[in-house]
């Protein structure tokens, strides 16, 4: 490929270190890392662990922006270490810190449990009035492509915590639910199969809920998957206000079930092949 040089450049990594058993507070330690074009921060950390300091701890898994484990504070911005190229954000110095607004377990490992607890509290799953329908389904719900699009963007969340680290309200307010759980709430509220909006309103509309958001927009800037939590939160607010004023248009919920063998086959689609097993 033209334009990509293989020459290594020395970049100074300023890495936050914290050992819970011996340190009272985190401190910075510097490492000189030879960086080639295209190298990610995650690869830089691996270089440090392999060659310079084997005690460095961080969390990662997939190395390709899917698992959401390696969210870090890179040069003052939250992002995934695995899809941030060092030379895109650093000339000579790179600060690597754990995500703020969480407790630090060790070095670059934040404790994400507060986020997951909040996520669980907003009931991030399809709620139906008739529970038997979910527990013992007789078929599938109809949903048009337009109905799918009204929440699809918010399903791409990988729970990396970057939005929670970027949020200015969470910087001081430990009780605020935060962008990620509230985006999940909007994802299920907007889903036409779901009937739990009013149940979730009781949580998202309270003093710890979505009205703590003042549209600083940092969550959407930080999100490595383009989920756009800021948009989800404003749409959630709109719905809450309309619900309060009794102005909301009734959204038609999925009622009809699509059982096996009930669907109509479109004329230009061939029939499914016969089963080969059983």
């Amino acid at each position: 490929m033209p334009g990509i040089s293989n020459a290594a450049r020395l970049i100074t990594f300023h890495v936050t270190r914290y050992n819970p058993e011996t340190d009272g507070a985190p401190y910075l330690k510097t490492y000189a890392v030879p960086v080639r074009e295209g190298m990610t921060v995650l690869e830089g950390l691996h270089y440090i662990k392999d060659n310079l300091d084997s005690t460095l701890a961080w969390r990662y898994s997939c190395r390709m922006g899917i698992c959401g484990s390696c969210g870090m504070f890179l040069n003052g911005r939250p992002g995934l270490a695995c899809n941030t190229q060092i030379l895109h954000i650093a000339d000579a110095n790179l600060t690597v810190a754990p995500l703020p607004n969480f407790e630090i377990i060790r070095d670059l490992v934040p404790d994400l449990w507060t986020m997951f607890d909040k996520h669980r509290s907003i009931k991030p799953y399809i709620l139906r009035i008739n529970e038997a329908e979910i527990n013992d389904p007789a078929g599938e719900f109809y949903q048009s492509p337009q109905q799918l699009e009204s929440y699809l963007q918010f399903t791409y969340c990988i729970k990396c915590g970057c939005c929670m680290a970027a949020c200015p309200t969470l910087a001081t307010d430990a009780r605020y639910l935060g962008p990620m759980p509230l985006t999940a709430a909007q994802r299920y509220n907007a889903d036409t199969r779901d009937e739990g909006r009013r149940e979730r309103n009781a949580l998202t509309g309270t003093s710890t809920g979505v009205f703590r958001c003042h549209y600083a927009g940092e969550c959407s800037r930080a999100c490595p998957k383009g989920v756009d939590p800021a948009r989800a939160l404003q749409l959630l607010k709109r719905r809450l206000v309309l619900d309060y004023l009794h102005l909301a248009r009734r959204i038609k919920r999925c009622e009809k079930l699509h059982g096996p063998g009930q669907g109509k086959l479109l004329p230009d689609i061939a029939a499914a092949p016969k089963g080969t097993v059983g």
Partner: protein, 127 residues
């Protein structure tokens, strides 16, 4: 849903303030428009013009409306900011009570002053 209720009214109050404070600016501070409402000389804040406005029922009613709406918007905004500091619940309750007392107190003071000034201005106009 409490928060939804208060925040909805906070936004509504903001929109009302946009018009009322805009009018306030046109009357009191914009040289180009202030003389429309000030029959005595060019200074909208002279003694005569103050008395003229206090004598009009429209101004007295609008003052009280502006006072109430602005106090709600301002003090609720302050409460929102303070509550984002993760304070102790007891302290938060104290803040709510203090802001409520301050707000109602100032609303009472301002309403009393507007009504009293209305009376003074009318008495002055009668001679």
């Amino acid at each position: 849903m409490n928060r939804t209720k208060y925040w909805t009214w906070h936004m509504a109050a903001g929109v009302v303030l946009l018009f009322l404070l805009g009018l306030h600016m046109l009357i009191m501070h914009m040289v180009g428009t202030a003389h429309w409402f000030a029959p005595y000389g060019t200074e909208p804040d002279s003694l005569q013009n103050s008395l003229f406005r206090d004598g009009k029922l429209f101004f007295t009613v609008t003052y009280i409306l502006l006072l109430g709406v602005a106090l709600y918007h301002g003090l609720y905004g302050l409460r929102t900011i303070l509550f984002e500091l993760t304070l102790k619940p007891a302290f938060e309750e104290t803040i709510t009570v203090v802001l409520l007392v301050v707000g109602l107190g100032l609303f009472g003071l301002g309403t009393w002053a507007a009504v009293a000034a209305h009376g003074i201005a009318l008495a002055g106009a009668r001679g």
